[in-house]
């Protein structure tokens, strides 16, 4: 895929990854055979509806799921060529936070409510980077300033409850940036925020990404956000990646019928009031009991016999990086017209 593969491995390469939950009601196939590559300095959007496995995928990458044996894994996660799944917890701890950082949806519950903001940032700097207290304080003020929080010095003495949701998310980003990570995973970072604040936070993330040449995985259910803020995109459905390509290509020429349906289901500002929406009939499959064949087959308008029995694999189109998992993909030139092959 990448031309520098011979010299340097990609920043992140996920190969045939499975994350299954052993529940009292059976095995939940949360992530089911996912593979993708992320190059340095790129932003990958992972988009899907609730329960599609996007958050479980990110939590598997940084290894923060329950360690009581109820989570079953298979596959490889290669970070700069090292397989994270085979690393002992001690080494993984060095990577988590320092090389791969994460920002979560709810900034209130990802910050410690009884510790001052400043302490939460300097803690990372002194413990992870071995900075002195004095240096850490200066650096914390710099970080706070770089994420656009006014009166940095004064803010360090405040508690999370004193800040608005947008400001808390800025603090969470400052903490994530403290160790200059190579990869930032942002899991629905703006879902809890208002639309004007959402734009501010997404702009901030992109600015940080460009300044630091960081790679970003942006997880969201919002195709509008994916469209504006990512280079490449992977669409997840029922635990699998069903389409992956450059973001512009996905928006203009989706090949997988699910992607097309998702793009068409959202109301559009340009349409007149009372425009009938193209709802996707039915519900996503139950992950405890996934259907045979293509997992979208029960809701797909173009379904044919083989879709119900044979599972399509994610395959790249000839001469392009556009991959999709579909037996009867939409034609490239008439993709938005809704015709099938």
């Amino acid at each position: 895929m990448a031309d520098n593969q011979s010299t340097k491995p990609p920043l992140l390469e996920v190969n045939n990854l499975y994350t299954h939950f052993d529940t009292p009601r059976g095995i939940a196939h949360a992530v089911d055979g996912v593979s993708f590559t992320l190059e340095r300095g790129r932003t990958l959007g992972i988009v899907g509806e609730s329960g599609s496995g996007k958050s479980v995928l990110s939590r598997t990458i940084i290894d923060i799921l329950a360690k009581d044996g109820s989570v079953l894994y298979d596959g490889e996660i290669l970070f700069e060529g090292r397989d994270l799944r085979s690393l002992p917890e001690k080494e993984m701890r060095e990577i988590r936070g320092r090389e791969i950082a994460m920002v979560f949806q709810d900034p209130m519950s990802s910050l410690n409510p009884v510790k001052k903001i400043g302490k939460q940032i300097t803690e990372v700097l002194t413990k992870r980077l071995g900075m002195t207290k004095k240096a850490a304080n200066l650096r914390a003020a710099e970080l706070i300033d770089s994420v656009g929080i006014p009166d940095a010095e004064q803010q360090l003495g405040r508690f999370p409850m004193h800040l608005s949701g947008g400001m808390r998310q800025r603090v969470a980003i400052a903490i994530a940036m403290a160790c200059e990570p190579k990869l930032l995973i942002a899991d629905e970072p703006t879902t809890a925020l208002d639309v004007t604040i959402q734009a501010q936070i997404l702009d901030l993330l992109r600015e940080q990404q460009r300044e630091r040449n960081m790679s970003v995985i942006l997880i969201t259910h919002n195709l509008g956000i994916v469209s504006g803020y990512t280079d490449d995109v992977a669409v997840m459905y029922a635990g699998q990646i069903v389409e992956r390509c450059a973001t512009d290509e996905l928006v203009s020429h989706p090949r997988m019928p699910y992607t097309e349906a998702l793009l068409n289901a959202a109301p559009v500002l340009a349409d007149p009031p009372h425009t009938r929406l193209n709802a996707i009939p039915g519900l996503p499959p139950n992950l405890l009991n996934v259907p045979d064949g293509c997992r979208f087959n029960a809701r797909c308008p173009y379904v044919q016999e083989n879709c119900k029995t044979e599972m399509p694999t994610l395959t790249a189109d000839a001469n392009s990086d556009h991959s999709f998992a579909c037996w009867h993909p939409l034609q490239n030139e008439m993709a938005n017209g809704g015709a099938s092959a």
Binding site: V195, Q198, D203, A266
Partner: protein
């Protein structure tokens, strides 16, 4: 106001007391809704959308102002007098799962309003429950004996809509009814609301923070900021020519599929001020890109700049 006005909201204020401070969650809200109309209410968290909706259904009664429904003044009614009117004035909420009692069966949940209103005929209750379940696209034979946890969020919202419909209301207040749903399910529920509106002759007050959703379902749209209306116009018009800088800013920051975000930075900087201590003059001036001295000194009047298009701004983006 015209002959077919169903709801008249006149200059209502809702005040709360918190930490010894009295503050107005909404103030000076005036709105007429005609029969068969859908009015959308859009704004960011804390702007007073839900407070407005609740004041209309008298939960609680507004601190000041009038609410007339079908010509009847509601603010002066006692709880007992209000009860029969509530049947015609229903509400559905954002989180469908938590607004259904998890321990009761779907048929009991939907039948409850009928029973409270005094209906005793079991066969008639059963017939009505089946009818509304069919109307919202649920198979009564499969759903009636199940409990809410056996359904998805979208299905629970259908059950909530069925419960609201069973009293044959005139007006349904929809408070963020699709915000907790995935986009594919959101489209199903929005289409369903349009169908139900036609079938039952409903009038809707639809609250959402999602601009595209509000535009899709509404005939007219009101934009709220910090407890006050800042703009009200026909849905198509407000999106084509927003007159208030806040409306324009909301639209500029709304992420749409196919938009490539430019590097000019967000159209709206800063955060929403505290409603405990709102800015002087125009409440939006602290974030407004074109605020002038007058905006701090004088509160702009909510006035008509073209037929049916009202805006509270000294310097509207659309000429008078």
């Amino acid at each position: 106001m015209t002959d077919n006005t169903l709801l008249e909201v006149e200059d209502i204020t809702v005040e709360y007391v918190t930490q010894g401070h009295r503050f107005a969650a909404i103030s000076g809200v005036t709105l007429d809704i005609a029969e068969g109309e859908t009015v959308g209410l859009v704004g960011e968290s804390g702007c007073g959308k839900s407070t407005t909706a609740r004041a209309i259904i008298q939960l609680p009664t507004p601190t000041a102002g009038k609410v007339r429904f079908e010509g009847q003044e509601l603010t002066e009614l006692s709880h007992a007098e209000m009860r029969p009117i509530r049947q015609r004035l229903q509400i559905i909420f954002q989180d469908p799962v938590s607004s259904l009692n998890p321990r009761r069966r779907v048929k009991d949940i939907i039948a409850e309003p009928l029973i409270i209103s005094g209906m005793k005929d079991k066969a008639e209750i059963d017939r009505k429950v089946r009818e509304v379940l069919n109307a919202v696209g649920m198979d009564p034979d499969i759903t009636m004996d199940r409990r809410p946890h056996q359904f998805s969020g979208g299905q629970c919202q259908r059950i909530c809509i069925a419960r609201a419909l069973i009293m044959e209301p005139k007006l349904i207040v929809c408070d963020e009814p699709v915000s907790a749903l995935d986009v594919s399910v959101q489209a199903q529920i929005l289409n369903l609301l349009e169908d139900m509106k036609e079938r039952y002759g409903l009038t809707l007050l639809f609250i959402s923070h999602d601009l595209a959703v509000v535009k899709n379902i509404s005939d007219r749209v009101a934009v709220m900021y910090l407890g006050k209306f800042c703009e009200l116009a026909d849905s198509a018009r407000i999106y084509e020519a927003p007159a208030h800088p806040y409306t324009a800013g909301l639209m500029a920051t709304f992420p749409e599929i196919g938009d490539k975000v430019t590097n000019s930075g967000p159209a709206l900087t800063g955060e929403i001020p505290s409603p405990l201590n709102p800015p002087s003059g125009c409440r939006f001036r602290t974030r407004c890109p074109q605020a002038e001295e007058k905006c701090a000194a004088e509160e702009p009047e909510f006035r008509e700049i073209e037929p049916g298009h009202l805006v509270a701004c000294h310097f509207p983006l659309v000429g008078e």
